[in-house]
Amino acid sequence: MNAAHFLRSRSFMLGLILTLIFVFAALISFLWTPYEIDGVDIPNKLHAPAWPNLLGTDQYGRDVLSMIMVGARVSIAVALVAVTIGMVIGVPLGLAAAAKKGTWWDEIIMRGNDLVFAFPSLVIAILITAIFGASAINAIIAIGIFNIPVFARITRGGALSLWERDYILSARVAGKSPARISIEHILPNVMNLLIVQGTIQFSLGILAEAGLSFVGLGVQPPTPSWGRMLADSQTLVYSYAYLALFPGLAIVLTVLGLNLMGDGLRDIFDPKVRKSRT
């Protein structure tokens, strides 16, 4: 596996390009957007896409392109932090469950996982925001919680097969503690799995953030978010279809980019698939 493998994977490259477009849009938005997004300009409301408002203006006269750029940074930030939460908590749990396989410790972790899985995620997200109020942080928590069991399970699954390997056995014989083995030998070897899953959870996070904002439970105004832009466009869509079109496309393209990247990475990391492809 080297750079050539990455370059040769068409889906990876396509996904990478799509994703980078939005990442760059998000980064640029910190420094510059075509227009200010926190000022309202009622006389300029609802202009159809044309120069100088390339993607038109919304019902408050704000520039849609600028809002999509800032919305990108909200979506990406929320999803990224939620994935990080899932990994930081889920991976150690998964490693511990695998190391203590068959004990009550393993049982509690895995049953706890099942339990989280059993909760309808959106309902819980609504509950969380009802309790703590709607905000970006609470959206992150609501999405992040459901990432924990995903990473715990995938880590455990990957780790279990590794524990049977000879070199792990010899490490145990050499007197290394399970914790040390987990960190030194298991973790690096499940990293590929985690990166692939991380990309997928990232894309799911973007969708989840959009859904929460759509029902009004994501970041709060005046900060724009793709989901809320869509929700705001709902009653205007018949006369001003572009208001619904562009934020929707932004979501689809970002999620598509991440998924393609994930697929590409899976192929690149998995030598079996790689061989059969060529």
Partner: protein
């Protein structure tokens, strides 16, 4: 085997108890008092206290938890604070929409996903395979509520083929009801079908590369015969697991779609109940949904246990 079942059953019960505790405490700390919500901004403090008394909100938390749990065991989900009707009636009223909708969506998704997945797997690398993979990739990426909005504009407002929202009730006739449920079902089915088709494809590919398939082919069965007699049956297990879980989630997962189409289903009920602080309804409905998922998991576990004796020991 019996020991295995008992062990799973024990886990199921523990899960339910923990879930009920989590739900109850989560819902009870939601800020906002049902009584003051109902009486609005001109209400006086003593009026609010009188209503709290009427609603049975003035007893201790533990007492309320046990009343709730023991009630549920006997099939009594309590009485809604806002509507003052039994919660179980409200749930069954919503179920006549949510359940058919979930079944409809699942049927659509299965009808699309099975052929797509099978074609993609058997003609790996072909144009058909590439397009199935492409379309499903897109299907997973499109937020279903956005897709729903666009469908409403085209098919309900412009073409007037389907209802734009609302549900006329089953009394209005099967056709009218289907007219209202079709667009939501398609919106719900889109990502599910995409996922299912992909699972179907990869699961079938895995089975097709296994030894017993090669043996079957070596024994002189045609490709088609091998596919139908051996491969499909074995590839179906992971697919059925996904279907089971999708079904449980479709019941409540339609919450955003129900909002877009304004369907008075279970999802809307929860959303409404949370905003109205109808705590007893929130608790009971969430518990019911969790119960459904746990039950599906339990059944899947049992099925796996039956199919593969090794699992009984390892899990």
């Amino acid at each position: 085997m019996l020991r295995y079942i008992l062990k799973r059953l024990q886990a199921l019960l523990i899960s339910l108890v923990v879930a009920s505790l989590v739900i109850f405490s989560a819902v009870e700390i939601v800020p906002g008092d049902p009584a003051s919500f109902m009486l609005g901004i001109n209400a006086q403090e003593d009026t609010i206290m009188a209503l709290r008394e009427q609603l049975g909100l003035n007893v201790s938390l533990t007492q309320r938890y046990f009343t709730w749990v023991t009630g549920m065991i006997q099939g009594d989900f309590g009485t809604s604070y806002t509507y003052r009707t039994p919660v179980s009636d409200m749930i069954s009223e919503r179920m006549v929409i949510s359940l058919p909708l979930a079944i409809y969506a699942l049927t659509l998704s299965t009808l699309i996903a099975f052929p797509a997945g099978i074609i993609a797997a058997t003609r790996r690398g072909s144009v058909a395979d590439v397009s199935v993979m492409g379309v499903t990739q897109l299907g997973v990426a499109i937020p279903n509520f956005w897709f729903a909005m666009l469908m409403v504009v085209v098919f309900a407002i412009n073409l007037r083929w389907f209802s734009a929202g609302g549900f006329p009730g089953w009394d209005a006739g099967f056709f009218a009801a289907m007219k209202a449920l079709t667009l939501p079902a398609i919106a719900l089915a889109l990502p599910q079908a995409s996922i299912l088709a992909r699972v179907m494809r990869s699961s079938l590919l895995d089975t097709l590369s296994e030894d017993f398939i090669r043996t079957a082919r070596a024994k002189g069965l045609t490709r088609r015969q091998t596919l139908w007699r051996h491969a499909l049956r074995n590839a179906l297990i992971p697919v059925l697991t996904i279907i089971g879980l999708q079904f449980a989630f479709l019941l409540a997962g339609g919450i955003i779609i129900e909002k877009v189409f304004f369907l008075p289903g279970l999802g809307q009920l929860i959303f409404q109940a949370i905003t109205q602080r109808d705590l007893i309804v929130v608790e009971s409905v969430v518990m019911l949904l969790v119960f459904a998922v746990i039950l599906v998991n339990f059944t899947v576990d049992l099925a796996y246990g039956l199919a593969d004796p090794r699992l009984r020991r390892s899990r």
